[in-house]
């Protein structure tokens, strides 16, 4: 029986590609920067964020370890995979819990209290989950694994926010002591937020691109991972702002209203038009680089993605005050208009790249499926072409399987369709010479499809 280790774009390389070394270097730099920042923060600032930085290191170390174990899970044989994934999940869970406890204990617990923090977190979980669901669904041809989408969001929420706290604390400490207060200082704060936050978030997408190339096919995947990182970051930032404003305004009797306003602004109005949009640009740049032939073009695409993300983020932070919000009923309209006017064009830009990417992907997959059917190997049948090339038709077929053979039938057909699309994606990458080595896995995948077809009884 054939065992498929790889089911996506690339075969298992015989030696580690150089990108793994680059990923290890980037990860090492991130860890060193975080440790150095936290120690310096604690030593020189001696503020509450400084203490949070130091004690939060344990959580960050757990996330790093969980990521490492999680990535190993994709490189080991299927028998060991679930064990690695469970370990990674447990470590991530501990890290998230520890980080929340540290944040809560040192930043807000004494003022907002753990109950308020828990309520705020509970309010943000459904909206963020909805955002992740939508973002994953938009990749209609080949959905990314939940594992990687959730790891992206966790990195955005925990690692990126940690990097930002330390970096921005330093930037702020220097800026308020040297610059003239007012618009100039505000502009540097906006540069700080745009630069540090997008670098912190974008590093996660870059590491995914370098380590998980098999699940990083094109611009669509880049946008999905980038937006997921942004949603994770937005979750933690919303939690921080909600508890913060609650603590500030509760003595005035307006704590809940202030926290509720933050929730609406960040988890409803700004769920997609905010961090998700900014980091989606980073992902788009990396996704486009994935399919470019020359190294020079790849570097330019990645840098350009970062530049657009930083600029979009900067423009919001720096020029927000140009759109003041009145305290009357008119203010409710102005809040929405401000987000649409300031972030809407960037979100539209991401949607345009996404639409182009989806169209390219659909055209390519249709062509590859047609060629596979013509080759007559049995992996794709001519009568399946119409179904496989249309997401809605695929779904209807799965519903028919559900009706005739129950949940098991639905799942088996879904696996078969996913494997057929993986094969088409693999053919596409091979044709474009976007793979590390020639594909032995392609034949294994065909064998796997034949097995799945028998299981699905089609």
């Amino acid at each position: 029986m054939n065992v498929i280790v790889r089911r996506s774009a690339n075969p298992r390389p015989r030696g580690r590609p150089s990108r793994y070394l680059l990923a290890a270097i980037i990860a090492g730099v991130v860890v060193v920067v975080m440790v150095a920042n936290s120690v310096l923060d604690y030593a020189f600032l001696d503020t509450i964020p400084g203490r949070t930085s130091l004690y939060g290191l344990m959580a960050v170390a757990l996330v790093a370890l969980a990521t490492f174990v999680g990535v190993r899970a994709f490189d080991r044989d299927p028998a060991q995979r679930s064990r690695h994934l469970i370990r990674a999940g447990v470590l991530l869970g501990f890290a998230a819990l520890l980080w929340l406890l540290v944040s809560d204990a040192f930043l807000f617990a004494s003022a907002a209290g753990p109950v308020v923090a828990a309520v705020c977190a509970a309010a943000c979980i459904p909206t963020t989950a909805f955002g992740l669901f939508v973002v994953r669904r938009i990749d209609r041809n080949e959905k990314e694994p939940w594992r990687l989408v959730l790891v992206s969001a966790a990195w955005g929420a925990i690692v990126a926010t940690s990097l930002v706290i330390w970096g921005e604390s330093f930037w702020e400490a220097i800026a308020v002591r040297t610059l003239v207060p007012g618009p100039g200082l505000d502009a540097t704060r906006a540069f700080s937020a745009g630069l540090l936050e997008e670098l912190g978030k974008g590093t996660a997408v870059l590491l995914l691109f370098l380590v998980m190339r098999n699940e990083f096919d094109d611009v669509v995947d880049g946008i999905v991972y980038g937006a997921a990182v942004g949603l994770g970051f937005n979750f933690m930032e919303t939690l921080t702002y909600m508890t913060n404003v609650y603590a500030i305004f509760s003595p005035e009797g307006a704590g809940a209203a202030s926290a509720g306003f933050q929730w609406y602004g960040r988890q409803v109005l700004g769920l997609f038009m905010g961090h998700a949009t900014y980091t989606a640009f980073v992902g788009a740049g990396i996704g486009i680089a994935r399919q470019l032939p020359s190294r020079r073009q790849k570097v330019i695409a990645i840098v350009t993605g970062f530049v657009v993300a930083i600029a979009a983020h900067f423009s919001w932070d720096a020029w927000l005050t140009f759109f003041p919000i009145e305290t009357s009923v008119l203010g409710l309209i102005e809040v929405h208009l401000r987000t649409i006017v300031m972030t809407g064009p960037f979100t539209a830009g991401v949607v345009a790249l996404l639409a182009l990417g989806l169209r390219n992907e659909s055209v390519a997959l249709t062509e590859q499926l047609r060629r596979e059917a013509e080759a007559g190997g049995g992996a794709v049948l001519p009568e399946e072409l119409e179904i496989l090339t249309k997401p809605w038709r695929r779904f209807r077929e799965r519903l028919r399987a559900l009706d005739r053979r129950g949940v098991g039938g639905y799942v088996r057909l879904a696996r078969l369709q996913a494997a057929q699309l993986d094969l088409a994606m693999e053919r596409w990458h091979r044709e474009r010479q976007e793979i590390d080595e020639p594909l032995e896995a392609e034949d294994e995948l065909r064998g796997r499809i034949r097995t799945l077809r028998q299981q699905a009884a089609f």
């Binding site: 308020v176 207060p181 618009p183 502009a187 603590a247 500030i248 990417g357 055209v363």
Partner: protein, 164 residues
């Protein structure tokens, strides 16, 4: 038969991204220009002001009490005391309080230092409609103005208003 070379659709994506990148660079350049406008290089005069300290403030008497402090609770009223006599009289200055959100919450000037001798005490006001100061780091700055625009900080104090 004439073969027509098809353009790689990824190139279209790449070029679209480059156009976005150009807009991004324009935005960042505008931000840099904004920063340089409000933080111009080479305009320092070498003048310095002396902030005697930041003290508890009694609005009834308009006097300060107690020792110089750098932290206050939200309910405490506080004010900075400036020695205007140390500042050259040929420049326009203002003393100004910014709260942790960047709002101006207290001000003396703009005027010539000689005209501010009756404004040595500059209190930080609570925001309108609120019972307490907002928590966080407050900046008190004595600034030199060029036209209407502050261009140089002659003295600065940072004060922490505690959350509780």
């Amino acid at each position: 038969m004439v073969a027509i070379a098809q353009r790689d659709p990824v190139v279209t994506l790449y070029r679209t991204l480059l156009v976005y990148g150009l807009f991004g660079l324009i935005i960042l350049t505008a931000g840099l220009v904004e920063f340089l406008h409000f933080e111009p290089f080479g305009v320092t005069t070498g003048a310095h002001a002396h902030i005697a300290g930041v003290y508890l403030y009694d609005p009834a008497t308009k006097e300060t009490t107690g020792p110089d402090r750098s932290t206050f609770t939200r309910s405490e009223l506080f004010a900075a005391v400036v020695n205007w006599s140390d500042v050259p009289d040929n420049i326009t200055v203002q003393a100004i309080w910014y709260d942790a959100f960047g709002n101006i919450v207290g001000q003396a000037g703009p005027a010539k230092p000689g005209d501010l001798k009756d404004h040595r005490v500059v209190p930080a006001e609570k925001p309108t409609g609120l019972k307490y100061h907002l928590p966080g780091q407050y900046i008190f700055a004595v600034e030199r103005l060029q036209g209407d625009q502050p261009v140089e900080v002659l003295a600065r104090r940072l004060v922490e208003v505690e959350r509780t």
